[in-house]
Each structure stands twice: as C-alpha cells, then as structure tokens.
Amino acid sequence: MAKLIQTEEENLLAEAAKGFLSKSSPVSRLREMRDGGKSSDPDLWQEMAAAGWAGVLVPEAADGSDMGHAAAHVLARAMGRNLTVSPFLSTAVMAATLLRQFDDPATRQKLSQISAGGLTYAFALDEGAKFAPQSVEMTAEKRGNGYLLNGKKRFVVDGCEADRILVLAKSEEGLCLFDLANSNKGLTQDPLDMIDSRDAADLVFDDVEVSGEALLGEPGAGFDLLKPALEAGQAALAAETAGLAEAAFAMTTDYLKERKQFGITIGSFQALQHRAAHLCCEIELTQSAVLNAGRILDQSPNDAGLAVSVAKARATDTAQKSVQEGVQMHGGIGMTDAFDMGFYMKRARVAAEWLGDYGYHAGQVAKLRGF
C-alpha cells in the first residue's frame, strides 16, 4: 500500500490546481453565477477540461491522463476550497469510472469526449428523499430491440445541463443500467431551485424509448456496474467536502486573528481557541480518511467500501461542524449573504445529502465492521 502522504506529483498537482482556481474560480464566481440566475458554469468547465482535469480518470487509450482517484481527490479538494461549480464529480469521476469498465470503441469514444470536455453526464439515482440506490421503482419494459422507461428520479445533480443520463431501472431480468441522451423524447427535467445554487433536477421518464445499445452490460447487473462509480463519487465528494471544511476553517481562524471585541483579538479567548483546536483535529482526521480512500480506490478498488464510507461520513460531519463554527465565530457578519460563509454552509448541506448522508455511511461502516 502506498503511503498516506501526498506524493511529490500530488503536491505539484495541488499547487497547480490552487493557482488555476484562485484565478478562474474564486468564490465570487459562484456568487456571480447565482446572482445572474444561472446554475452552471460551462465556460469554466471548458477551461478545466483544457487543463486536463476532465480526463483525470479516463484511460490513456481514450485520450485521458488516467492519473487515478487520489489525484482526482487532490482536484476535488481544491474545488471544494473554492466552491467551484462544475460537472467534475458527475462526469470526470463517476461517469468515467463507470464507463471505463467497458472496452468497446463506442465507450472509448464517449470517454474521449469526456476527457475533451465535450460530453457531460448526470446520474439519476434517488427516487425518495434519501439516498438508497438499490430502491428502484422505475421500470424498464422490453420493447422490441430496446426498452421503454417509466418512472421518476429525484435530486439528479447536473440533471438539467448534462448531455447524457445514467439511470437504474428494474426490468424482468433485474436492475438494468441505461445510458441515454438527456434530450430523449419523453424525458423531462424539472429544475430544482437548490440552496447551493447548482444544477439539479427531478427527472420524469414518461414512456422513454431507448434502443438496446442504451443498456450497459448485462441485464440484472446494473447495480454491480454502478457500484464502483458510486464509490468513486462518494470518495471524491468527501475530498471536495473536506476541502470545503478546510477553507471555511481557514476563513474562521483568519477572522479570529483579525477581529477585536472589547479591545481584544477574539482569537485570544480561550474558549474559542479550544473550539478551534478541536475543529483542527477533526479536519486532520478527515484528511487522513480522504487520503486513505484515495489510496485504496487506486490500489484495491474492490475493497474500498469501508474506506469510502469512513471518508464520506467524516467529511460530511466535519464540514457541518466547520461551517457551523464558521458562522457562529464570525457572528452577525457570518449571517449576511454579502459574506461567503453562507455559500459554504449551503454547499456543505447539499454535499452532505448527495450520494449518502452521515447516517447512510455510518450504517455501511457498521455493516462492514460486523455490527
């Protein structure tokens, strides 16, 4: 097993990402996007693709850089720090991980397009309000060579803007995974007015006809195919959320050093010091969990479940604590929309739910640890 410290390459990548994002994606860019009534930032994604980020998990044979999950986490963490809006997780992490399980020309073509920033994906997973990827009521009915899809999926991240949708539906043969165009007839997108200002939609499948080619892999194998993509997404989201937690904490400690109350720098109040120190420890443990998930995904992806759930649970929890302390320690200014902390808090909330919240992953950990 590789060491639990960032390699020299990863350090360089982190530096490069930081430099790129501080220029191209400060938090003010998210604010402008929101104030402009938009929920996505396609230009930024093109820049990121040009920097090679879209192909981080695309095999070299499909024109990707194939740098691996740990490298993807370095990028996700940097994006988390800046609240960067992009289809990186859905497309570059999850869809690439899913599709690279297939080695046919058509899939290679899709992967190559992903790497070039020319194709984006969204995963239509949830049917209820909580993450439960194996609870599928959506149906796939055999119709000639293809299928007829009917059902509803909720909280589809990037669901409005994505070019294509990956979706599980149950057929007579079990759960089937489909890859279809988001423009398919009968498929409608109800945009959600998300608190984190990003693209998400409820998708309604009303007699959506897809050809046999839309089915990925064998019928009935849908969830097995989906699983690596979910785990990759959960771990990368943990990395993003850990980055978010760090950035919110850094804002807070900076403020503790600057701000005076009753004539004293508030960072010299011991009660705040101890709370900040505790949060520092929480963040440290979470970083370890994220590093560990990256290492295991790269080296023995089939055993990654525990590492991924620990990382996602820890990152979710740490980010909540970080933004909550962030608002409280900033006082009134932390509550104003004019200050950035609120954006961190809202994103932390959405990231907490997406791909399984603390309770979901805690349940996974308990199961994998035998209790």
Partner: protein
Amino acid sequence: MAEVDEGRDLVAFRSGIRDWLEANCPSEMRDGAGGEEAICWGGTTWVFTCEAQKIWLERCAEVGYTVPTWPKAYGGAGLSRDEDKILKEEMQALGARSPLDSFGIWMLGPALLKFGSEEQKLQFLPPIARGEIRWCQGYSEPGAGSDLAGVQTHAADQGDSWLVNGQKIWTSYADRADWIFALLRTDREAKKHLGISFVLMDMRSKGITTRPIRLISGASPFCETFFEDVEVPKHQVVGTINRGWDVAKYLLTHEREMISNGGNVMGSGRALGAVLAEAETGQSDPVLRGEAMRAEIDSLALEMTLERYKDQAEGGQGVGDASAMLKYMGTELNKKRLELIMAADGAAALTWGETPASSWLRTKANSIEGGTSEVMLSIISRRILNLPG
C-alpha cells in the same frame, strides 16, 4: 399548565374580559394564527391585511388592551399582573390574535416608563399604544458585535441639538419604521460606558437612509441605517445625557426576561418527532433517530424549565441571570432541531420554497442575536457560578 387560585374579584374580572372579547374580537381575528404573517406592526407604513385587523386594533387601543399593564394616562388599561395574565389566557382560549406587536411596546415603552420625562411619556406612549408610530432599535454597529457599548455613531453637541453621523446595523424593519431609539456617542472623551446617550429620532429626518440586509437564509427585516449630518433636538434624549448605557442595560435585562417568559427561544414549526415519524429514514437510521430522541428529551426539559421560570416569576421571584441559560440552551437546541429536520427531510429540504431550508439557516442567527451563546456562557460563569474574571 399552571393555574392559581383566583380571588372573587379576579373571577369577576375574567368573566368581564370574556364578555368583552366575545363582543369585540372579530371572527377573522380568532383564528389562532401566529408567526410573522399574523402580526400587526402598526405605524404610518402599515397596510392592514384586512378590515378586521384594523377594527381589532382600534377596539383594543380604545380600552388600553394593546398595552394592558401601562397606566391609563399613557394609553394602557392599568391592569395588575394577575389581571393581565387573565386577559392573555382568555385571548388564548378564544384563539384571538395579538392586536398589535411592536418594538415600541416591547422595548421603548418600558424604557420610557422608567427613564422618560413626563413630556416624553405623554408624547410617545399613547401613539405607541394606538399603533400609530412604529419604532426600530438602533443599538448594534458594524464591527461592534457583542461589544454593545462600543458605540461609534457620534452625536456632536450643537447647543440645542445634536448632529449625528455614523452607522447602525441589524435595525429590524428600519425601512418601515417611523422612529428609531438609538445609542449615540455623546462624549468621546469619557470612558466607554459613560459617553453614550439614549436618543429618539424621527426616521424621516434629513440625512437618515436605510438599506435592507440579505441574510444567508434570504430576505430579512434587518437593515443597515446610515446617519449623515442628522439634526436631533436635545429633548429627544431619554434619561440623563451620557448615561444612556443605564437605559440600554435595563432594556437588555428586560429583553432577556421577556425571552424567559416564553419568548421564541424554542423556535416554532414542526415538532421533531412528527418530522421523524414522517421521514423516510426516521425508523431505520440509528444516528438520526438517536440524535432526535436526545433533542426531543432536551426540548421537553427546556419547556419544563420555561414553565418553571414562569412559575417563579409569578411567585414574584425574578428570573434574572438565569434567563441567559434559557437563551443559550434554547437557541442551541433550536439549531440542533433544524439540523435534524434537514437531515430527516433529505433531498426534499435542499431547495428554496416550501421547505425547512430557510428556517434552518435562520436559526444560525439565534445564537448570535440578542447576545451570543459565548456571551451567555460568560454571564452564567460570572454571575451564576461566580467564577473569577
């Protein structure tokens, strides 16, 4: 839950109140509605939501029931504490809305009654009681935070008047208020707490402008209020010049006492148990369920404590500094409650609109406004536990 033995006079009083309410409270005002929408704030900018709201205000004001315990001379009904309690109980029994709520009633009124001159009382209290002047509060300043005495907004002495320059923040509804009561620095040389005056200002004075503050939870009643060469007659100072901190302190204590009389420490909205019972994962996620049980137990214990303090207050025993405990525990628990509601509702809570999202974000201010949790803990440490420093 508590009920005291009532003497014969009070029984008669209760029956009289009941009759009066029955005869005077319009049916539209008996819907038991609460929350922001049901409030009548009054003032010159007020637009009544319906004719009944206007009638209800006028009828109450006529007999002094908008401010039942104030002396009749100042627009009140001169009720005793026991009588006031009966009035509130009977109104609640009928589901009657409050005829008028305002910072004038809650805050300025008590301050004027204690510190105001007779002229000030006669000038301001009756219009407050009739809902004719809407007030806002100008305490906080940008950068001052918990340090309320760090007032920078300056009132320069011009003989008969002050010339005011500076800025206030967190002035609720400043954009709709007719008047403001504010703390101003009237002596820059004196020690921090000894150069402040408590001043009343007409919001239509030349040089006052306001700007609403958007919160992380969305639009809010809070404003920034700017003062640029605003002239204020000196007789609009309440109490002694440069001793405004005494008035402010009195109001802060009064405010916390109000909170302990069942104010909105606990927050409102759906009970956690009900949320969980409806939620998809309510039964299956032990983390959420366990934390919800804990929050439910703590909520119940907090309710019992509110009731206990009310009983203490009725027994004539002031709550005093203990109100800091309620403020702290109530607001922290309310934050926790909304976090759990957000988790229980899952993706359904992540959009704006008819979701708990906005309330959830708004609760984050509970432990900042009206004295931060940290200030409350320090008060408890010093005044209740007598720890040094």
